[in-house]
């Protein structure tokens, strides 16, 4: 963070990247890409690159909110379940209640943000540890989605919803555009607003931030609300991809999102990390998944290799922590 800001004041974005904590995640990205490129001919095709980005868009979007929460020193285990709940209720609004699809989309956002606020409220005002709060709300969100839908997926959304999942704008898949826009927005918030500074400050030293007059509770509330919001945005893309509300979707997505954040160089204890790092982490994880699939590795072994790569990546970048 500080590195970033340092250099940015004095130079270009490029310069900031080469000297910043992003360098290690980037190097990892390059190495893994080259390895995969050797192992599979198709890897470096534009088509496959867009394919990877599109695949990662959903968890990549979840990882944005996760980055905010982790930067404050918290964690949000509920994102996958909240995404599923938002998608299910949104689909229910469109299909079962017969309302216009726009209302359904708004409903998704409302569900995401409300759950985020609930998490934030319990963490900040309830003074309960985020890991436990969001573990409980994960159960709650998951259960509510299943209760609401009776366990069945809800399909029958208007066709245009698929635009969010499979549409293209100027040749680029819409999910990728949504993801990149959200990352850009997150970058502005984290690097160019006082709220962003406060996010970093709380993760760096909560007591000090409080003593300096940072409204710690409000910031915590906000980061969880942002996480709920990005869960809702992920739900919209997911709806576009699945054309249905899936109450069982997103199991263990929170773990992938966390992995992206830390692969991107953020400290799990908070205070350090860049949103661009998370984007790199998301792409890195996408390449690993895609590459292992392309090479045709036994699916069981893929998890083992993924685990080892995560360990290696964290080990290499651990000096900075």
């Amino acid at each position: 963070m500080s590195h970033d800001t340092t250099t940015e004041t004095s130079g270009s974005l490029l310069k900031s990247i080469t000297r910043s904590p992003l360098i290690l995640p980037l190097v990892g990205l390059v190495i893994v890409s080259i390895a995969m490129g050797f192992a599979s001919d198709n890897f470096f095709s534009l088509d496959n690159i867009l394919n990877i980005l599109r695949q990662q868009s959903i968890i990549g979007i979840l990882a944005i909110g996760m980055t905010f929460v982790i930067l404050t020193g918290g964690i949000d285990l509920s994102v996958g379940a909240v995404m599923a709940l938002a998608g299910t209720i949104g689909a229910g609004i469109m299909v079962n209640m017969g309302m216009p699809a726009e209302i359904g989309l708004l409903g998704m956002i409302a569900v995401g943000v409300l759950f985020g606020l609930f998490n934030g409220f319990l963490t900040a005002w309830g003074k309960m540890p985020a890991i436990i709060v969001t573990l409980a709300t994960m159960l709650i969100a998951r259960g509510l989605g299943l209760v609401y839908s009776g366990g069945y997926p809800i399909s029958g959304m208007p066709g245009w919803i698929s635009w969010f999942g499979v549409g293209r704008l100027g040749g680029i898949p819409v999910p990728i555009i949504i993801m990149l826009v959200l990352y850009a927005l997150a970058w502005v918030i984290l690097q160019r607003t006082s709220f962003g500074r406060h996010v970093y400050a709380i993760g760096g030293n909560e007591t000090a931030a409080h003593l300096s007059g940072v409204n710690v509770k409000r910031v915590k509330l906000m980061v969880f609300a942002i996480s709920g919001f990005t869960a809702a945005m992920a739900a919209i893309v997911l709806s576009g991809r699945l054309m249905s509300g899936q109450p069982g979707a997103g199991v263990a997505f929170e773990l992938d999102a966390i992995a992206m954040v830390v692969l991107g160089g953020a400290a799990i204890s908070g205070g350090r990390g860049l949103i661009l790092g998370t984007l790199i982490g998301a792409v890195l994880l996408g390449i690993i998944n895609n590459g292992l699939n392309l090479i045709g590795i036994n699916p069981y072994l893929q998890d083992v290799i993924k685990g080892l790569i995560i360990l290696l990546a964290i080990y290499i970048s651990r000096e900075r922590r």
Partner: protein, 285 residues
């Protein structure tokens, strides 16, 4: 598709899960069959996550597969992957569970029948009376259909009451605890229907632990379940599906099209069969 292409087709198959002997044996049969025609096969495991399954299909399309055998974890959710594959001219055959969208064929068990047959068997074994419970599973269409079929069969017995439905998540350890609780909650429980053999094995352990006389039926025909049935005891029946045959038939449909067949059946239901102590010895997937 007018003329037969040269060389063996590249085959991709995506499974909803592979942590289940049912799909593992399906995969084995596929591998054997592909070997005989010299095809390269790519297999992926969605782990019950449709979003991942779509990604898996996308990755396989990157590898220019010719045939996609699709075992969808959710029929509606997988539609966009089906369309993508069709747009690329790939032959798509759904196996075990159907998929929305323009699939070329669907090969699958009659799941509703399976549930119906198991519960009919259970009801008859109980002489048409007593308390019965359902050990449910993951909320996907085939499982939901089995429960439907089961309920329909139980309805035919006036003396049988369905007293409880709990979710064992098709996982042996979870099903074990859930069944123990069901037995506690309903001291007069006489029968349990489990939606699959994984859950049934857990339920069996719970029944044996309780020492009660509770009859158990299930669906699948997994080796362990068949053994248990052959040995006698509370586990009296499983309605077997034929995973190996499903994939063989599915591949056959796809190959037919690949070689130029214009008309293939859009749906090939594979029968299910009652396996009980009478015929268990001779049964195997």
């Amino acid at each position: 598709q007018d003329s037969a292409p040269d060389g063996p087709p590249k085959i991709g198959m995506t499974f909803q899960e592979m942590n289940n002997p049912y799909f593992v044996s399906m995969r084995e049969a596929l591998m054997e069959a592909a070997k005989t025609i010299g095809s390269e096969v790519v297999v992926t495991d969605a782990g019950h996550d449709v979003a991942k399954q779509i990604s898996d299909v996308e990755d396989m399309l990157q590898q220019d597969i010719d045939i996609l055998l699709l075992n969808p974890t959710d029929s509606a959710g997988i539609e966009s992957a089906v369309r993508m594959a069709k747009d690329r001219g790939v032959i798509v055959v759904a196996v075990d569970a159907n998929a929305n969208g323009p699939v070329d064929s669907f090969v699958g068990s009659k799941n509703r029948d399976a549930g119906y047959m198991s519960c009919k068997y259970l009801g008859e074994a109980l002489n048409g009376e007593g308390e019965v419970a359902i050990l449910d599973g993951i909320p996907v269409v085939p499982i939901l259909q089995r429960v439907e079929g089961c309920k329909a069969a139980l309805d035919e017995f006036d003396g049988i009451t369905l007293v409880d439905t709990q979710n064992g998540r098709q996982d042996r350890s979870v099903a074990l605890g859930v069944t123990e609780n069901m037995i506690q909650a309903h001291p007069n429980l006489a029968g349990i229907f489990s939606v699959n053999d994984g859950g049934a094995m857990g339920a069996l352990a719970a029944i044996q632990g309780s020492g009660k006389d509770i009859k158990l039926t299930s669906v699948d025909g997994a080796p362990e379940a068949v053994d248990a049935i052959a040995n006698g005891g509370p586990f009296i029946e499983t309605t077997a599906q034929f995973p190996r045959d499903q994939v063989r038939v599915g591949l056959g449909m796809a190959l037919a099209q690949y070689w130029g067949a214009q008309v293939v059946p859009s749906e090939i239901p594979i029968d299910v069969r009652v396996v009980d102590s009478e015929n268990a010895e001779d049964f195997a997937w």
